[in-house]
């Protein structure tokens, strides 16, 4: 799965991200110089974290594949750890959880690395789905049985199965695009994250009408529309780096932003249900890992399957 992406086009993509980060950092510093507040401090903390996240992502892409498999495997691990921490499991779930973290998760990413699509696509929805309740039943604690099994299954689906579709983009065989798949990964991640950022920015600038105040007080129609439109346009501008035509790229970018939005909203609903604001505190200013990748969880598999169905 060697993806030679050290060509001119890819370097331009990286240069674009670098320019964005520089501009964001400058704006953040100017805002801080004009008037310090908690919002500005949080913004600067987020920007600093973006530098680190972009660097990690860039390095993982430059390894030509394996690096991204490892990176997203680790992200799955930390996201699932956050998810299970907030899930009320019981001592009888211990063994099932051990399997989930140390057998199923690594196996899923092993299948991505070896590009075994058939097994990759059924390991969690079929085998793990049946295994988890069976293992819990063997442990013999019937209290809230269905709730416990389904919450663990759900965590595994979202944090591992869905996220693993991002590096799985590397296994798609698109005619005339061999060895360039890492750019698809770049395309997906950049649009999802830009869409998040732009929705936040538009929301802060113009936001008035809340979409779902109980579930996510910061999501507004103005932010959603502004963010979706601008992220879709930026995505469309990248169409020469994709295997799609310009209009197809626009459609893909639009679907990615919509799925990203739905992912963020759904994961917020779970957080509200558990009575927390963030999944964790491991990324300065952003919350936990799952707070950062919630939108990728939903956009990843859909982008993967649309590309696989229509372009391979």
């Amino acid at each position: 799965m060697v993806n030679m992406i050290r060509d001119r086009q890819t370097l331009l993509l990286f240069a674009g991200i670098l320019a964005l980060l520089v501009v964001a950092t400058l704006i953040g510093q100017i805002m801080r110089w004009r008037r310090r507040s908690d919002v500005v401090d949080n913004l600067n903390a987020r920007i600093r974290a973006w530098w680190v996240m972009s660097a990690v992502f860039a390095i993982s892409l430059l390894t030509g594949g394996l690096g991204s498999v490892i990176l997203f495997g680790l992200l799955s691990f930390f996201a699932l750890r956050e998810f299970i921490t907030l899930t009320p499991t019981r001592p009888a779930d211990h063994s099932a959880l051990f399997w989930v973290f140390f057998i199923i998760l690594p196996l899923q990413y092993y299948l991505v690395a070896t590009q075994w699509y058939g097994f990759f696509s059924v390991l969690i929805p079929v085998y793990a789905f049946l295994f988890i309740p069976s293992r819990i039943a063997i442990s013999g604690d019937p209290n809230a049985f269905l709730e416990r099994s389904s919450k663990i299954q759900w965590g595994l689906m979202v944090c591992v199965y869905c996220v693993s579709h991002v590096p799985a983009l590397l296994m798609l065989e698109i005619p005339g695009y061999a060895g360039k798949n890492a750019r698809l990964l770049f395309f997906l991640v950049v649009i999802v994250q830009l869409s998040d950022v732009l929705q936040y920015v538009w929301g802060k600038l113009l936001g008035k009408h809340k979409i779902s105040p109980v579930i996510s007080p910061s999501k507004t129609w103005e932010g959603f529309i502004g963010g979706t439109v601008s992220a879709t346009l930026i995505g469309t501008a990248l169409w020469r780096t994709t295997p799609f035509t310009m209009w197809q790229t626009m459609g893909m970018a639009f679907i990615i932003t919509i799925m990203g939005f739905l992912g963020g909203l759904t994961m917020s609903a779970i957080k509200r249900d558990s009575g927390v604001k963030d999944w964790g505190s491991s990324i300065q200013g952003h919350g936990g890992v799952l707070d950062r990748i919630d939108s990728i969880c939903f956009a990843g598999p859909i982008f993967f399957h649309l590309t696989r169905y229509f372009f391979t």
């Binding site: 691990f77 699932l80 750890r81 956050e82 299970i84 921490t85 499991t89 001592p91 211990h94 063994s95 959880l97 051990f98 973290f101 140390f102 964790g280 505190s281 491991s282």
Partner: protein, 203 residues
């Protein structure tokens, strides 16, 4: 070598339980301390130990049950060599030395201790009444700060009766230093100490 192993153990603890540490009116420094902690898992002292700045780890000795940690192989190596644990008998026999004397000996002139005054592992939800050792230590060494410490969620990382841990975010909170008051009664002090841990729960 021991340092490398210690770093590895701390790293492993972070991967499993995260590195969440809260300090509520506690500043880590070179003074001798007795950290008293609620007990929920065999991993408790590793987590408390990992929550301290590296400089203080080498001077801080966990107090651990001899019958569990003094087994040949990995446990003894980790317990005695890496963590430099003070081992105590859980079921004292006629000839065994007094537990408090063993602890005072382990404390010496430069070490700190991590102790679990409940004496046994709880379920993580409740905190059992304290044994009197903490009071006697505080009386014998009024110069040493007693630090209430609350450990949360480690019982889910490695519950009682399980052998393999699972990842789960845990946290360690250190509270304000306390001492046995002038003429303070044993039960009054033990209650106060236990409440200090309960209070850390809300952080």
């Amino acid at each position: 070598m021991r340092r490398v192993v210690a770093k590895g153990v701390v790293g492993l603890a972070r991967i499993l339980a995260g590195g969440n540490v809260r300090r509520v009116g506690f500043t880590p420094d070179d003074r001798q301390r007795i950290y008293f902690v609620n007990h929920t898992s065999h991993l408790d002292f590793v987590l408390v130990w990992a929550a301290l700045p590296p400089r203080l780890r080498t001077m801080t000795r966990p107090v651990a049950a001899r019958d569990y940690w003094d087994k040949p192989g990995l446990r003894r190596y980790l317990g005695v060599k890496v963590f430099n644990a003070v081992l105590v008998e859980r079921k004292p026999t006629a000839g065994s030395p007094n537990a408090v004397d063993v602890l005072l000996d382990g404390l010496g002139e430069k070490h700190s201790l991590i102790i679990f005054p409940e004496g046994t592992r709880g379920d993580g939800a409740t905190i059992a009444p304290f044994k009197s050792g903490l009071y006697r230590l505080g009386k014998a060494r009024p110069d040493v700060d007693l630090i209430p410490s609350y450990i949360n969620n480690v019982n889910r990382v490695l519950p009682k009766g399980e052998f393999v841990p699972v990842p789960m975010l845990a946290s360690v909170s250190f509270g304000e230093p306390m001492h046995v008051g002038e003429g303070e009664d044993k039960n009054a002090f033990l209650d106060r100490a236990r409440n200090a841990i309960l209070e850390l729960r809300q952080w």
